[in-house]
Subunit: 424 residues, 2 copies
């Protein structure tokens, strides 16, 4: 089995579970830091490990454009390429195609779009999105979907949702036929062997040098590409429920996606500009239609208070750029509320950023120092701010899990103000 | 004693020594990473510790402008402000005033200059530069000097050198009268107590929160401001030899600086645009006039091959922005020569950056990954590149020291090409 999900404990609608993937067992509910192009911006991989990140997310759209799927595949997939040996999930590319690229043209076949980097033209279909994600080699990949814009009328949402359902079936079919080609499975590693040797052949001296201490050129150390651990294991494909802000269409989308059949289900198409209340309502109603014995992934949310709320509603997996992006804007989440570290009031504040946080930033640096780094535009500001915000999110989710196991409900102290307007 | 220097072993002109400062014992010859405004750009302090940095440098000019001396002083000096508990050296501000600021006006009294940040007008004299450096609280501070421009005629160099000698005497006098005010000495900590309490008084709730786990507001954890360790200890002031590219004027400058009397001597005014051969010649000839029993600090050089060469000539301390600045430009120093990581040839190179390096970057990441980070303008590129380059410099200096102790001469393998043209 390449994916096993078991629920250890439920508490109301919340669940504490374990998700076994080829590279790691994940304790759920889990927050997944976003590592857009194979890097969680500013944070070295060993620091991510230290923070307790169990699974990180890569963006297929970004990685497809740069460095390109073939480069990542040849280096053992994302695990080998970025030397991250815990779990990875890649999104379908659908959301970025819709939010970042210009001049996209959608047809039943797929999406033609222009790169936000250089304007070059590209095409994603369910099949090519699967091909890309197999080459990237994440533990979990996502069916290709259309992220419906907001607002949209019912006819448009229905049509879009129906196409996503058809794309889900095509995604699954292509994936099932090609999943053995993942770079780190036994078969994948063998398929990889030939081109890798060819590419190093023109320069034997260099290949020789690279082979020590690396095991062999083309197969970097940490991929375990030929390790029996991954023999016969494959990636797992999750389906995505769309349906806009219409509970009935969400229900229909859930039913049609479940009919295709996946080992896990995501709720997509939220955080696209709708009011928060509406997000909550749609999450709540959609969750009712997802199977209880499969992992449920809510894509792209949210604030610290929201991730707690959604975990309490029965969501098992979440990702969001908020902790990392806010960090780059000097906006820090703490147990006492949000801190905008750029403010002059912190210039001589000798206290820690968050007295209740045990991350290496709060254990060592003062608010005054963090404020100075930010005000001086020092790169270390981004590094330290990101470490803290991720620590806050990951710790929050761990506490939620702990509360579920204890049969309690986790809540932030009132007045933390973490949920207030976040304009970055 | 606040500074003790002992020579363990000599080997030709090279010396392996120990320099005891209030915050750390330093093994020499030593390379000092540059932490311009209280941050070695992109590298967290614990990583610097891991790399074996024994002493880092802060730039008085930059710190004076931002965050300002008073802020640093109130937070326990640079050690407390940046929570770095090993040794620190601050430069005099002279070099930056001459290289960065606009519209400077030099008189016997001092230098009026405009901030490169906002154009505001400021004045540095030997006395105010000492006052600033006492507030910053480094273990070693530097006399205020004029860095003579290159090229300059003999009369100009002589006049400038003579003024630097007079400024050295004024620097020493002011320092001796005020050195008890350093933030971390017993007296300094007591003097600090009052303003710190006052500043926290308006907001008792906040002061109360900050006092746990921090010992007291205004005196952050890691300064040990009131620790008996530093009781009665002070900073140490080094003199700077100038004299342009004229060996006779260098000799005279050395003699006049020694006559003032300092526990250590620096060679300044080099790397100002002169040819490398000339730098070497001046270093060589100036060293002959410096006392053998005092530490010798060569300011602002150089390439990896140069720092080895200068250590072999008897220099004990060096600093340079090259490893950190080159890292930001993707130029990496390795045991096999320079690597410009941006090059497309590394796009699928699965080997480590330097197979002979044991830094955490070379132990984990491939050239392909580092190339991808750099090409994608990811912040992690700067972080990892800087860690490696600093590791290379620090390891190189450690190997030089080891060679001196063994009675051997350390040399790079021929063809490493580390000394070639470095245009950033």
């Amino acid at each position: 089995m390449s994916l096993e999900f078991s629920i250890e404990q439920t508490n109301g609608k919340a669940r504490a579970g374990r998700l076994e993937t080829p590279h790691a067992e994940i304790q759920t509910p889990v927050f997944m830091p976003v590592g857009t192009i194979a890097s969680v911006k500013g944070v070295p991989q060993d620091t991510l490990e230290e923070l307790g990140a169990q699974i990180i997310l890569g963006n297929t759209y970004h990685l497809y454009l740069r460095p390109g799927v073939e480069t990542v595949r040849k280096l053992g997939g994302l695990h080998g390429f970025m030397t991250w040996n815990r779990a990875i999930l890649t999104d379908s590319g659908g959301f970025q195609v819709f939010s970042l690229s210009q001049l996209r043209k959608v047809s039943e076949e797929g999406v033609t779009f222009r790169s936000h980097l250089d304007g070059s033209s590209h095409f994603f279909s369910p099949e090519s999105a699967m091909e890309a994600q197999i080459g990237l080699g994440a533990d979990i990949l996502m069916a290709f979907d259309e992220c419906t814009e907001y607002p949209a009328d019912r006819a448009r949402v229905e049509e879009s949702m129906a196409m996503t359902a058809r794309w889900a079936a095509r995604s699954k079919q292509y994936f099932e036929q090609h999943k053995h080609r993942v770079p780190w499975s036994q078969a994948g590693a063998e398929a990889l062997e030939r081109p890798a040797r060819q590419s190093s052949a023109p320069n034997p001296a260099k290949a020789g040098r690279n082979s020590e201490p690396f095991p062999a050129s083309g197969s970097p150390r940490l991929t375990n590409a030929s390790s029996p651990t991954y023999a016969g294991q494959t990636q797992s494909l999750f389906g995505i429920v769309q349906g806009g802000m219409d509970p009935a269409l969400r229900k229909e989308s859930a039913e049609r996606t479940i009919e295709v059949g996946f080992p896990g289900y995501a709720i997509g198409g939220l955080s696209v500009g709708e009011p928060r209340e509406l997000t909550r309502e749609i999450v709540r109603s959609t969750l009712e239609h997802l199977p209880a014995d499969k992992p449920r992934y809510l894509m792209g949310v949210g604030t610290p208070e929201e991730i707690v709320e959604y975990a309490n509603l029965g969501v098992d997996m979440m990702d969001c750029v908020l902790p990392t992006r806010a960090a780059r804007h000097g906006l820090l989440f703490t147990s006492e509320g949000k801190v905008s570290i750029k403010q002059a009031r912190y210039a001589r504040d000798a206290g820690p950023l968050d007295p209740n946080c045990r991350c290496r930033v709060c254990q060592r640096y003062s608010r005054a120092y963090l404020r100075h780094l930010y005000a001086s535009n020092e790169v270390l500001a981004q590094v330290l701010n990101t470490i803290h915000n991720l620590s806050f999110y990951l710790d929050t989710m761990q506490r939620v899990r702990h509360s579920i196991l204890l049969g309690e409900e986790y809540r932030f102290l009132s007045g933390a103000g973490l949920d207030r307007n976040l304009e970055l």
